[in-house]
Structure formats: structure tokens, C-alpha cells
Symmetry: C3
Subunit: 470 residues, 3 copies
Amino acid sequence: MTLTLDPDRLFPVDPATRAVARGLYQRVAELPIISPHGHVDPRLLLDNEPFGDPAELFIRFDHYVTRLMHAAGVPLTELGIPSRTGGTPVANPREVWRTFCTHWHLYAGTSSGYWLRHEFATLFDIDVQPSEATADALFDLIQAKLATDEFRPRALFARFNIEVMATTDDPMDDLVAHRALAADPSFTGRVLPTFRPDAYLNPAAPGWVERVAALAAWNGSDVSSYAGYIEALAGRRRFFVENGAVSADHGVLQPLAVDLAPAEAAELFGRALAGELTAAESRVFAGHMLLEMARMSVEDGLVMTVHPGVFRNHSSATFEEFGPDTGHDIPVTTTYVEAMRPLLEKYGNNPDFHLVLFSVDETVYSREIAPLAGFYSSVYIGAPWWFLDAPDAVLRFRAAVTETAGFYRSSGFIDDTRAFLSIPARHDMSRRLDAAFLARLVCEGRIDLDAAERIIVDLVDALPRKVFKL
Amino acid sequence: MTLTLDPDRLFPVDPATRAVARGLYQRVAELPIISPHGHVDPRLLLDNEPFGDPAELFIRFDHYVTRLMHAAGVPLTELGIPSRTGGTPVANPREVWRTFCTHWHLYAGTSSGYWLRHEFATLFDIDVQPSEATADALFDLIQAKLATDEFRPRALFARFNIEVMATTDDPMDDLVAHRALAADPSFTGRVLPTFRPDAYLNPAAPGWVERVAALAAWNGSDVSSYAGYIEALAGRRRFFVENGAVSADHGVLQPLAVDLAPAEAAELFGRALAGELTAAESRVFAGHMLLEMARMSVEDGLVMTVHPGVFRNHSSATFEEFGPDTGHDIPVTTTYVEAMRPLLEKYGNNPDFHLVLFSVDETVYSREIAPLAGFYSSVYIGAPWWFLDAPDAVLRFRAAVTETAGFYRSSGFIDDTRAFLSIPARHDMSRRLDAAFLARLVCEGRIDLDAAERIIVDLVDALPRKVFKL
Amino acid sequence: MTLTLDPDRLFPVDPATRAVARGLYQRVAELPIISPHGHVDPRLLLDNEPFGDPAELFIRFDHYVTRLMHAAGVPLTELGIPSRTGGTPVANPREVWRTFCTHWHLYAGTSSGYWLRHEFATLFDIDVQPSEATADALFDLIQAKLATDEFRPRALFARFNIEVMATTDDPMDDLVAHRALAADPSFTGRVLPTFRPDAYLNPAAPGWVERVAALAAWNGSDVSSYAGYIEALAGRRRFFVENGAVSADHGVLQPLAVDLAPAEAAELFGRALAGELTAAESRVFAGHMLLEMARMSVEDGLVMTVHPGVFRNHSSATFEEFGPDTGHDIPVTTTYVEAMRPLLEKYGNNPDFHLVLFSVDETVYSREIAPLAGFYSSVYIGAPWWFLDAPDAVLRFRAAVTETAGFYRSSGFIDDTRAFLSIPARHDMSRRLDAAFLARLVCEGRIDLDAAERIIVDLVDALPRKVFKL
């Protein structure tokens, strides 16, 4: 079976609406990519080594892809993911690729399937569907391209027309890769670090005490000093700012902000170091630290992004054998209104503060996020994320938030990906969907075509620049 | 840029479906407006004075409009809202209007933007988009029209073809304006009061003790008498009924009904007056009073409407400086099934009782409200309200409730607005969307055209009359 | 007014998309019906007696149908449902039918209306709308057909092209009807029992002690023996397996799994028999038993289906007078992620275990069920159920789950019905909607036509066979 890419893909099926969508899309199709939040490793660009093989590139590290084969009964070792507890060896890359091609039908209708098809067609000129029969030939074809200079990371970065790309980094990261890239005159792209302090803020996170100790050591303060802990976090944030960071990202199970007096916070901190906090007290301390992070954002200007509502590592056995990010993070119900109120009361209308709220629980879009972003000047509506970064989900998102908050309270698209090669596919998908949504509103007589033409450019260009202070 | 009004706006884009929608809409486009729930001040019609200026008319009192500019960083004083704590003076009307015109792009795709455009085009014959460049001319144009007799409230009331309009009133309101209007032979519209007792029922509401005292004084009973309190509420309801009221409206954070024995209720009442209730006890007492209101509705026939799930005055600082209804009321998760069961157990199938359930949490439409209204003869499905009174949200609403409850358990449209000039735009929007929804079902072979033709007239005419006992 | 059946019903309105949908539908329109979960009484087929009359057939036992008339104020006795507390006699069948025909407009846009119309047109060649005027003639027409041999249950079973149909049965049922059908050489259909043990697992269910006693008596163990109780349940499951059962069905208010040590469970069991459990303890014991049922499913191979989230018998007065299944079961919020984790931790990736998760709370589709089914090899996504088994709801379901989990993690259609005559209408509706959904994806360039052609056949045929081990 042939693999083709419909030039009108994702546009509405009604011919007149499709024509409007096509026209809107053409205004932004070639604009540079702005990627203010993602998970690509900066060393990829620093080292600029060729990618290893198709399995490493498309499968092993992409838990969106491995999960559906796992659900179909394929052991993760057969997808190239090594067992940490010994036992079964991993399959070799060609076997992993064959397994994937054999299961290609599982991805029909999924966002991963959509992105992969885009990548196969646009980057590798593949014109046959992956299948057991075509697996080996496709492996060889991709492998051969990966060995060429045009497929080295920097060449792709240029080809993808990425103007700026943020990574996600540990607060104690030395940012050597970012600094080296910035200092390299032969690389002109902007690759910015992002401060991601979750594991340093939540006493219930494994290794929290060690991380606090590392902060103290860096700061030259005593481990037991709460003031030193706060000072160290502020200091590390400054270091990130100095190295180009524009945002601090917070992944929390529930978006809770708690306003503790310093003495209360210090007391909890001390007992946390002693391992004496209850689960509820840990949540309170972590909620206090989220508020502290907002305070620091007001001071140092880092945009605060919140990605809540994911129960991580749902399958303990899988986590123990294969580690995190192996496909079993599951969304839970999320609510912002009361739990985040202490933060919004303090900083919600601070003119320098930018707070981007994401969700994997769709119910908050119309109920909470759009109303909050429609009043608080700091609050921006995060683009659909993770499980919701998919065509129908994106259109549901736009329909849910726009009538309350318009277009100008949304963050612009965020690809949030580890999969470097998928970045153009994801941004292109977003642009097509914005065109589709706007075209429907135009054809329903709800907005004017000239307004839509302005809005789509703003969504792709002006809004992410403004929201992320780029 | 020109401003036009598409005669086919809000109809489906598919040409055949659009033609059916157009035909259905034409059957109801000119029917009189029945507005059984809203917030227009009856003095507006009694006094019949000209509206002040465009800023007062469209901006200052419409928190749907001010909120998006506030989110964009515009201080409320610049929108004409006076600070209660002194400080910054308010901008003058022309400046307010200019600020609005400059921010007009923020409203693209919002329901406020949709309504305003309708009002500009149909009432003021405006044919240019608001912008910094056109602001002054538009101000003068609107101002000039407002000075004419055709733009006085009563003339507009007649032009809008409003047959009946309910207001929302404090239980101790003397209803002088309603009585004067009813007695005025030169005004033939029906303007009905609505009994809205929230602040008299919830001990946690600011001023509850004073309100209880006012009830007691009117009733001639002792403030501390629970029986007198109940008697006074029943008496005030009778007074409203005598003055034309058809419904009692209840705005509660959560829709809770509690069945207390009279002695328990009296005991809580006494402690409430002494300021001794915990927050939980206040909720219990307020839940008991909701059940009492249902009991009284069974007795006096007032339709009971419940508008739950809004966290009011989320930003304390804004509330303190600018008061309530300034744009920061935020929806929360709502659930009816268990919390309202005591009320439905008692009165749910009472043939004279009408209970209209609204929600700003869309998740209850298919899950709770449609199933409840599909069994209990008292329960009607409230029209999409507040943040959900918008084109896509209304279509989601119809799709969510119709398959379970059909068309004949819904309340008919309720504009729920303070903005008098927006009433025709809102009813017209609702009629267009019902036509759009029905047309899709016709073209999908799910209902017959003649059934759709009957249904759309019933939705606009028969249902609100029946549900609100008009 | 005429009653017709649009051959293109439920297909998308866009002509090009409609053509694709039509083609996809034609590939599955005539495939045999696989019905792995439902509520038809097996004695219907064993006895093969003619159906009584139109009222008995279409109204009295179908609480989807009676509920909307009840909401319109029709007493249940007038619909043929006898009062258990004496009082009003029931209306006779012809009167019941007249009442229904008079209220036919209430069903416009509902799934019941859709199915009934299909049944009227395809089975009875009815070509006029039910109404007061046509009621008697329709009654006679249907009555006459029911008296013919082609309308006996077995003839309809053959005409409906049902390959396999599961019933729902009490664990202590002797399955005599199933065995007699299986042994009857003149009946070649497969009618399989389903093990439905809710009332035996939840100490808070009325009659639990008596049911435990019945299990013990069958097992020859002491009532007070927890080991005997477990043994008896396993034994009854084996009996069901021996008689063709492929699944065990669990209807729970909340999907809770609790992992108790045997001694803890035995202690709760003993206190439950003594009537000493708190409501919370009952929930814990029932949660433990759900986990035990999963353990037994792993051992005996019965597919585990979970139907949670329905508050049964919401109106006590109606329940007391008319019994269960009389129209007032109401959905509540449901969540799986944390509450079902103990079960998924133990058996979620067991290769022989199949767990089908249903919901009447749509919010879990994208948030929980699709992500869980996209990782755990045991988890399948249950088809939209009960209030959600309707055209728009089904399309929302597909849109909510497919982008995360693809098509191959869904269970295939389940009609879940007591209404034998509605089975073809329901399966046909599902096939049309899958065709509609796939056609949209094809026309939006998201999947290839040949993939869609494979998928629709798999959804109707391969998936239910695989998921239900048929």
C-alpha cells in the first residue's frame, strides 16, 4: 500500500470551508518554528552526531509509540528498552523496527501515527506503508539517509526552520551544552534551557534530601537551612536566566498553592529533611514551594508553566524494570480554581508575571482555564498537551476556550516533545488545525476573513513570543 | 475594515444543511421574545431616560466585556469602573470607548464579540469595525442615536418585540418599579420580578444577620424566631407572586439539599445568628433552606431555578476595590445526583413543581441533568448559561442532552443578561443555533423536517411558557 | 405524517464524506451480529412463544421508553407497570400503546426514538408516524404480525443474523435455559450466559446474607466460612464456563479495587454476615471482592467487564412502588486511575486477562480509559453504554479515545439491551457511526481508505471476537 500525504489534510471537509482553511494555512505554513517548551537533549545539537538507526530514532525513546505496542502484548525489551533488572536482552534495532512495522495499523487515527507518517513522507520520501513486507527495505532506506550529512541534527534544525527551541533541565545542570552552543559561531539557532525544579520542591519525591544537599553545597549554606534552600533555588534560577532561560516548568500531580508563613515553612522543611512529613504535609510543603516559585518568577521574570494532573509510573512493575517515561503515565481529574487561588491572589494580576496553565483533563478548558485567563492578566491558556495534542482534541480545545477567552489569551503551540524529528510535523499540525478552526468561524459568519488572517499569524508568531518573553 | 452581518451566520457550513437551517430559522425569527430570567433593572423601563453614552451602555456594566480588557492589562478604572478605595479616577466615557475599540480584536470568536457586532449592525447601522481610528466617530454616531426617542428603553423594548421580561430582585425589594410599570397604561409589556433569596438563606453570606433582621421586622416577629424567619420568607414570596413573579432563583456554590428536622434547623438558626456556625454547618443550614424553598415553591407555585457552581469574587483585591460582578467569578465542578436527592425525593415528581437546573460545568449535561430531567417530571434542563451561552457551547449542550432527554425537557432560552441592548442578539443567536442543530439532525436522517418545524417553534414559544408558567 | 427510513441516515452531511461513509458501511452492513453483552432472557428463545402485544413488546419493559413519558407526567401504571403497593390498576395494552403514540414527539432526537423508528419500518413495514390518530391501527397491525410464525423469537433471531448473543445471569442460576438451547438441534444460534455477581459481593446489597447462604449451601460449606464463600464463587464461575460463559460482568457504583490480606478479608466477611460493617467497610470488602474476581478471571479465563458509575433507584418512592429498572438510575462522576490501580498492578499486563472498562461519565474517555487501554495489555475500551449509546455520543466517544488508543483497543459494539427487537437497530446504528467516523478521518487525510476498509470490518467482527474470546 502506498503512503501519501494529503496536501489538504486536517482541513474541514466542506469544500468552501476547506478553501478558506487552505488560504489561512498558507499564511503561516513557512513561518519559523518557535518551540518554547520541549524535551530535546541539547547535546544532540552540540555533538551533531548522526542518529543511530530507525529504531533508536522513532521507537525506543518515544513512549507514545512504545505504549501501543506494549498494549498489544509486545514486551518492552522487544522495542529496544533495556530491562534494569536483568533478564531478557533487548531486540536489535532491525528486529525492533520490524516489530513496529508489523504493528503499524495500531497507529491509524492516533497522533503518533499522524506525525510518523508526516516524517516518513517529508523527511525520508517514503511512499509505502510500513508493514512486515516493507520493514527491511524501509530500515535500510532510513539508515542510509541517517548516514548523510543532511540528516545530522544541526542540518535538520536548519531545515526545520527552528528559530528558537527550549529544552527542559535539572536545576543543578551546569548548562554546559547550552553555553557551548551559544558560544559556537557555526550554530546560529537559539537553544534555551528551562528550569524544571519538581524533584527539588516535593519532599515526597525520591532523592529529595540528596537534591536539597546538592543545592546547599552549591550555595555554600547548611543543608538544614531553609533560608539557604530558598537562596539556592533563587540562585540557580538566576544562573538559568543568565544562560538564556525564559521559563520555569512545574509538573505537579495537583496544582496546589499554599501560603505558609516563613517559620511554618522552615519547620516543615526541617521535618522533611528528617523524613518525618506525612503525605499531606509533603503536599502542603510542595504547595508552598509552588507559591515561592511564583514569587521568584515575579522577581526574575521566568515564565511559570504548570503541567499538572498526570499520575506518573502507574505500573510499578514496569517502572521497576524499565524506569520512568515508559508509557504508563495516566491523567487524573484536575481542578485549579480553589487550589491555585492563593497564588492568583498574590500574583495573578502582576503585570510582569506570566503563568501558563496546561491540562490533560479536558473538563477544565471551558470551566476553569478560559475563565481564569479571561480575567487574570498573568494567566495564559496552555496549548493542548500530551494525550490532547491531537487533531480532534485540539479542535475541542479551541472550541472550549475561544468563546470565553478569545484567541489572545492562549499560549501558542508547544510541541513538548523528546522526538526531535517530529517537531515540524507537530507545528504543521497545529497550524493546520488553527486554520481549520478559524475557517469554520469565518464560514459561520462569526469572524471576518481579515481578522482570521491576522489571528493565525499571531497564534503562530506573536503569541508565543509574547507569552514566553522571547 | 467593514463590519457586516452574515444573514446565514451560525448556520452549518454544508450547503444543503444550511438551507434546512435557514428554513427552520425563518419560522421563529420574528416571534416575540420571552425572557423568563435576566438582570435588567426595571427602573430602566420605568424611568425611560435616554442611555448615557456608549461606554456606559456597552462596557462599564458588562463584566463579560471588561474582563477581557482587564486580562490584557487594562485597569478597571480605565473602563469606567470606580475604585471604592479611592485612588485613580475613572476614565471619561470617550476614553473608555477608545480603549475598547483599540482592544476590539480580543473579542473575535467570543460570544460578547458576536453580540456586540449584532447590536452595532442592527441597532446603530454601524458598518466599520471598531478600532483606534474609528473610535471617535463611532462614539459620536452612537451618542447621537442614543439621544433620539427611538433609543429610549421603552421604544427599544417595543422594537425588540419583548413580550415578557423577568428581572432579578432582592426579597425585601418593594417592587415599586414593577408595580408602577404594571399600572402604567402607556406601557403594555410584562416586566416580572424574580425572587432571589441567596443572601437571606446562607449564614456565611456577608450581612446575613442584618437581612434576617429585616425579614423579622417586616414580618413583625422576633429576630431569633426560626418560625418567624420561615414565615417571613413565605410572606415575601407571596408578595412577589402577587406582583407577577413566576420564579424564584437560587445561586449556590454547590447544589446541596439537606432535610433537617425543624428543631435541628431552629437550633442551627439560633447559633447562626450568634455567629457560631462552622463553615460546614452553614452549608448544612443553607442546604436545608434550599429544601424549604422547594417546599414553598410547591405551595406557592414559583418555578425554582438553580444556578450553581460559580466561585464568586475569586480575586479579593479586585472585589475590595471594585465590588462584585467585575469579571472574576469562576466556575467549579458541579454535581447534582447525590446532593440534590433529598429535594428530588420529596418533590421531584410533584406535578405542580418546576425545577430548572442550570450549570456552568458542561460535564453534568449528559451525565446528570439530562438523565434527571428524563425521569423526574419536575426537572427541566436549563439553557446553557454564562460562559456556556455561546455558539459552540450551545451546540455541545444540545448534543449532550437531546439523545437522552429529547427536546421537550429543556427550558427554552434564558438570556440572563444585564445588557438590555444585547437581548435580541442573544435570542436570535439561540434561535439560529437551534435551527442549526435541528437541521443537522434532519440531514442525518434522524428527525423528519416536519417534526423539526414543530420543535423549533416549541423551543422558542411553547416551552418557556410552559416551564415558567407564563 | 409518513414514517420513512433514510438509507443514508447517520452519515456525515458533506456529500463527499457521505459517499465514503456509505462505501465503508456497505462492507459491514450484512455481517452477522455478535452480541457479547446484553439482557435478553434466554427463556424467550427457549419457549419461542409469540410476543404478547405492542405495549409489552415496546414499552412496559423498556425503561428508556417509559422514563420520558413519566417525565411528561404519565403515571407508570398507565404504561403497564404494575404497582407493588396496590392501588391503581395498570392500563390495558391498547391504552398503553395509545399513550405512547400520543407522546411520540418526545422521542424526536433520542436514541430510543431512533431505534423504534428503525424497528417500525424494517420489521413491521410501518409507514406512518405514531400519533393519537394512528395508534389503534398501528396496534392492530403490529398485533397481527406478532401472531405470525415469522415473528416468533427464534425466527427473528435467525432473521436478525445473530451469530452469538450473551445474556446476563445470576451466579446461582441453574442455566437450564442455556443448556436446553445448546442441546436443541433445531436451534443453531449461540446463546451464552454471563456471570453477574454484584449482589453476592457487596455486603451492602439487600439480601447479601441470603445469597452468601445460598452459595454455601451449594458448595456444602459453612455459611461463616470465608474460604467456602470464595470456593463457591469460583465453583459457580466454573459452572458458567462449562455452560459457555465468556465473561463476568460487574456493575459497581465506583470502580474500586482493594488488596486485602486473606485474614483481613475473612474478618470483614464475618462481621458483614453479622451485619456489623460500616458503609466504608462494605465498600472495602466489595473492592476486595472485585480484585478477587479479577484473580479468578485470570484463572478461569472469563473476560471481566466493569459497568460503573450508576446511582441505582434514585427515586425511593418509585422504587418501592414499581421496583428496579423503572427509569431513575442516574450516572455519577467516575474515576478509574487510582481506585483501580491495585487491580491493574496485579493483573493489568497478564496476557490472558481481558478487562473491559465502560463508563457513563464521558470525561473518563480521553482522560483515563484511553490512556489505560493504551498501555495495559488487559484493558479494552468499552463501547459507549446506556445514556451514551446514541449517535452524537458515540462520535464523541470515538473522537475522545482514538487519538490516544487507536481503533484496536476498543471492545467492539455491545448492545446491552433487554429489548430483543432493538438489537439489529442498535448494531446497525453502531456500524453506520463507525463508517461516519472513519469517513471523516479519510476525507481529512488522516487515514487511508484501504486502512479504513480494514478497520471497519475489524471493529464489527475481529475485535468483539478477540476481546470476548469468542
